[in-house]
């Protein structure tokens, strides 16, 4: 993807890897918790195994989170932990969203005039 020109519309600077709603929610949960296991993420976000696994793998491939697979007794347990790059990407995304919101509010028309 080519980098947007400086001063361009904030929407052009959104990172597709992070901006997707499920991945943004995943990063938000992990930013707050530091790490979380697969069943917790599934429960809190209401996702299916396949959907969650796909998004987690994508974020891990981008270097935003780290997946650790291990065993607790005989039960397999997968943990996802946010990495510094993930925190930076989330912070940048939130900043862009705030900029978009400010831009929208600036241009939004005022309340309709009251009927006489």
């Amino acid at each position: 993807m080519t980098a947007p020109e400086p001063g361009s519309h904030p929407a052009l600077e959104l990172d597709d890897a992070v901006h997707q709603k499920t991945r943004l929610a995943l990063l938000t949960v992990l930013d707050e918790a530091g790490r979380a296991d697969f069943p917790y993420l599934k429960r809190v976000l209401g996702l299916t195994d396949g959907n969650l696994g796909r998004h987690l793998d994508f974020l891990a491939q981008q270097g935003l989170i780290e997946l650790t697979k291990g065993y607790e007794g005989r039960r397999p347990r997968t943990w996802a932990a946010i990495l510094p790059k993930g925190r930076e990407a989330l912070a940048a995304e939130m900043k862009l969203l705030a900029a978009l919101l400010a831009r929208f509010n600036d241009r939004a028309p005022g309340p309709p005039p009251e009927a006489p």
Binding site: G34, A36, L97
Partner: protein, 197 residues
């Protein structure tokens, strides 16, 4: 729309924070400590109480360490049981930071230890506010600042008025009220956290 999205993300963050019991745990632990200080304080004596003053001097520095250790172990247990992590920074980091700060205080800033003697509510309030600031938890920061400022003013007023030792019981009542206030805030918050969707 972006407004809805940011609002949803804030709610999601609040839910995870509730699952971590990030606000109620420290309020309950430090509320119990303040209440404990209200009870134990008179027995530990003042600085003129011979060898007993060491207990007063060490009360907050030592018990704060054990409180943070307890919070760390509790959050680790919750992570293993519920699958939600310890937060960032975790209480492990907070405890390590506290230990480093204590070493620095003992080596170069010994007068800071007397905060726990002369302004006893300021110590736990400062720790609560520091945890809140580090973990970006506004409620903890706010409660820490309120308890710290109120407790600090109360102690300064007592020192300024030079009240006789017989009035010490009144201070214990004030500390007990502060402890009960923190415990109540902790219990109310815990109830909200449990009913979080």
């Amino acid at each position: 729309m972006e407004t809805d999205l940011t609002h949803e993300l804030e709610q999601l963050r609040a839910r995870v924070r509730a699952d971590r019991r990030a606000t109620s745990d420290p309020l309950l632990v430090f509320g119990a400590l303040v209440l404990g200080f209200a009870v134990a304080g008179p027995f530990l004596g003042g600085l003129g109480a011979g060898g007993r003053h060491l207990g007063l001097l060490m009360f907050w520095p030592v018990l704060t360490f054990f409180a943070l250790l307890g919070l760390w172990l509790g959050s680790r247990r919750r992570a293993a049981r519920d699958g939600v992590g310890e937060g960032s920074p975790s209480y492990r980091t907070v405890t390590a930071g506290y230990v480093v700060a204590q070493v620095v205080i003992v080596v170069v800033l010994i007068p800071v230890l007397f905060v726990g003697v002369f302004l006893p509510l300021v110590w736990p309030a400062a720790v609560l506010a520091a945890i809140g600031a580090w973990q970006r938890n506004r409620t903890l920061v706010l409660l820490g600042v309120v308890i710290g400022v109120a407790g600090g003013l109360e102690s300064l007023l007592v020192l300024r008025l030079s009240l006789p030792p017989t009035w010490a019981w009144l201070q214990s009542v004030v500390y007990a009220l502060a402890g009960v206030a923190l415990l109540t805030a902790g219990l109310v918050t815990r109830r909200r956290e449990r009913s979080s969707p």
